[in-house]
């Protein structure tokens, strides 16, 4: 092994890599596009109050107390409909999903201790209807309790599973880092090997003192650098534009090293077994595409049917994404190191296989 040969190839890659426009797309534009699209869709999820349309026919203080309490929950935003409006027509014309009607005798009924109904019309096909019901129900219960002179014996203290406050993007971004590293490493390495075999560069290299091992090592090192670059770009972008919180620590760095080597070696293996340039690219797609969707990049594994979860359990990207998430978001060291160990073992096996089977000479 001559480090000089590895350096020569690294320098060659550094010079040529970004002259190829498709590389710029896959390393920078592709992950950023995913983040922008998903960030725009999910950045407000859960934080915005649901609009509740209120037609208040009551003129007493009781309805005012109810509305003030509802406002105070922060869960609903009140929008008033004039008492004179024909409600059914108004709902139809404006496609309203959540409407509350306070009847004219609400306050007087309360004052005279007669049951005072509040009408809640909800569109159950809209997912936010539950939120509205909970808000109104909670407030009504509290008022009932207060009027009965009761005392709260059980209280709920709200806490989050995760230590800090996280958004969907915080969950999503480690997956995007894993996904981008996979696609960049697998497709670049497979593409380069197929191309160099077809256009004769391997035959030329085979007549020089450089060995296939030195060449493979240089390719793995280069993609390691690209992987860190990808991570920096994605994180920087996510933090600047969407204000995400995440940390880089030792397991994150080790996971990038192991994952990048694992996927580079996977690209080498694909290129070795499928020699035709186009077929090899199809094979790379066939391997990476299921991983993209089944490895928990875009949604939690728990949301998938159990047989798909079993499929996910044998996909290397599952462990890389989960490990990155554990380390970057959940601060779960044990989980991060477990996933890291899985990726490292698969990585070592892939690299050994790749080194053993990659040959320059043709037979």
């Amino acid at each position: 092994m001559r480090p000089k040969h590895v350096m020569v190839d690294l320098k060659g890659q550094a010079r040529s890599f970004f002259r190829i426009k498709s590389n710029l797309f896959w390393v920078f534009a592709f992950p950023l596009l995913l983040i922008i699209i998903f960030g725009a869709i999910f950045s407000n999820m859960g934080s915005e109050a649901v609009t509740l349309n209120v037609q208040n026919l009551d003129e007493g203080t009781g309805s005012q107390q109810l509305l003030t309490a509802l406002n105070g929950t922060g869960m609903v935003k009140l929008k008033f409909i004039s008492p004179a409006t024909n409600l059914d027509q108004h709902i139809k014309d404006n496609s309203l999903a959540h409407v509350m009607v306070i009847p004219a005798n609400y306050s007087s009924n309360l004052a005279s201790n007669v049951t005072a109904p509040v009408e809640l019309r909800l569109d159950e096909t809209v997912s936010t209807s539950g939120t509205v019901f909970n808000a109104v129900n909670g407030v009504v219960n509290a008022i009932n309790l207060q009027m009965a002179g009761g005392e709260q014996h059980i209280v709920i203290e709200m806490g989050s599973i995760v230590q800090k406050r996280f958004s969907f993007l915080d969950f999503f971004v480690p997956g995007i880092i894993g996904l981008t590293i996979m696609t960049t490493c697998v497709f670049n390495v497979q593409g380069t090997i197929s191309r160099f075999r077809t256009n004769g560069i391997f035959r030329k290299l085979a007549t020089t003192p450089m060995t296939p091992f030195e060449w493979l090592l240089s390719r793995i090192l280069w993609h390691l650098f690209i992987s860190f670059l990808t991570m920096a770009v994605i994180m920087g972008f996510g933090m600047l534009i969407f204000g995400m919180n995440m940390s880089v620590n030792l397991p994150v760095v080790l996971m990038i090293v192991a994952g990048s080597a694992m996927f580079s070696a996977l690209g080498m293996i694909v290129a070795r077994f499928v020699k035709n340039e186009e077929t090899a690219s199809m094979a790379a797609n066939a391997i990476t595409f299921p991983m993209m969707f089944l490895s928990g990049t875009f949604f939690q594994l728990e949301m998938m049917p159990s047989y798909l979860q079993q499929v996910a359990a044998v996909l290397p990207l599952t462990y890389m994404s989960q490990g990155l998430r554990d380390a970057m978001v959940y601060d779960n060291q044990a989980g991060a190191y477990f996933n890291l160990a899985v990726v490292a073992v698969i990585g070592v096996i892939f690299v050994i296989v790749a080194v053993l089977i990659t040959k320059w000479e043709e037979e």
């Binding site: 060659g12 040529s16 004769g200 030329k204 020089t208 003192p209 000479e361 037979e363």
Partner: protein, 302 residues
């Protein structure tokens, strides 16, 4: 420089190289000539270490081809068939890349000058024409100042001008006392450039020697071409007992000995004989190939 004894390369049922012997001395240009599929590239790729032989002995620069691979690689330069370098590196960067792989190397600028690519120094390889790419390939093959250079079909696919530019570079290599192994399917190229030629067909060498020796041994001597000859001319040649062929109104008369030419001129000076012009054509390697295989080179490639 190269010693090959009874080299055989077999692929399942196909015998690509069928027992060839070859001796190449220092400082010569040795051409292996033959149609596509004759086994030229397989033979040189075995000598370059790119393919494994089935049997036989191959020694390059005094080393056994299999045991001495490491030593051999340091001292040979190779322009593989259909050569390509890195598309998105410039000419200069490509030469630097390959130079970096050797301990002994020629300065990049010197090589760029040797193949006259000064103007294209900073152009990406992918943007070069076929002829310029081959010149880069030759420069890269020379990057370690090799004792022995293999050029595998360096002019295939090039236009006549680019082909002649590559010839000039090969002549320059020869003047620097480099040993060059050249494979080609252009007879003229082998004839013009080589000290020795091996004509290959169907895995075997069918003729070996200097171009002159091969032509003298297997050629059919000189031919006098009488263009636009009339019937009287043909009659005169026939009655004089000279060997000839008629082709498209021309007479092709074999020059069997020293006396043949004066004799023919005598016949042509008769008053009833008319013709347009007379020229003398020597035998070529193409004629030799035709004679030895019964096929023209182009037909053999079908």
């Amino acid at each position: 420089m190269i010693e090959v004894r009874d080299l055989v390369k077999r692929y399942d049922d196909l015998v690509a190289v069928n027992g060839i012997d070859l001796d190449v001395s220092a400082g010569e240009v040795y051409s292996i000539l033959g149609p596509n599929g004759a086994g030229k590239t397989t033979s040189v790729e075995i000598m370059e270490g790119l393919r494994k032989k089935t049997s036989g002995e191959v020694r390059i620069l005094g080393h056994d081809i299999e045991k001495g691979q490491r030593e051999i690689r340091k001292r040979i330069g190779v322009l593989p068939q259909s050569f390509n370098a890195f598309d998105y590196l410039t000419v200069k960067e490509n030469i630097e890349y390959f130079g970096g792989l050797f301990d002994k190397r020629i300065a990049t600028e010197e090589l760029i000058g040797a193949v006259q690519l000064q103007d294209k120094r900073d152009a990406w390889f992918t943007n070069l024409s076929g002829g310029l790419k081959q010149r880069v390939g030759v420069a890269i093959a020379m990057v370690n100042d090799p004792d022995l250079i293999f050029l595998d079909e360096p002019t295939t696919g090039l236009d006549p001008k680019a082909r002649r530019e590559v010839w000039e570079i090969i002549r320059k290599l020869k003047s620097q006392n480099k040993t060059v192994i050249l494979t080609t399917h252009y007879m003229e190229e082998a004839e013009v450039l080589s000290d020795h030629v091996a004509i290959m067909n169907e895995g075997r060498f069918i003729a070996l020697g200097t171009p002159r020796q091969i032509i003298d041994k297997h050629g059919s001597g000189s031919t006098c071409v009488v263009k636009g000859a009339n019937a009287a001319a043909a009659d005169a040649v026939r009655s004089a007992g000279m060997m000839y062929e008629a082709s498209n109104g021309d007479l092709l008369v074999r020059m069997e000995n020293k006396g043949s030419l004066p004799k023919l001129i005598g016949l042509l000076s008769a008053s009833e004989v008319t013709y347009d012009e007379v020229l003398i054509k020597g035998s070529t390697l193409e004629d030799v190939f035709l004679k030895l295989t019964g096929k023209k080179l182009a037909e053999a490639e079908q």
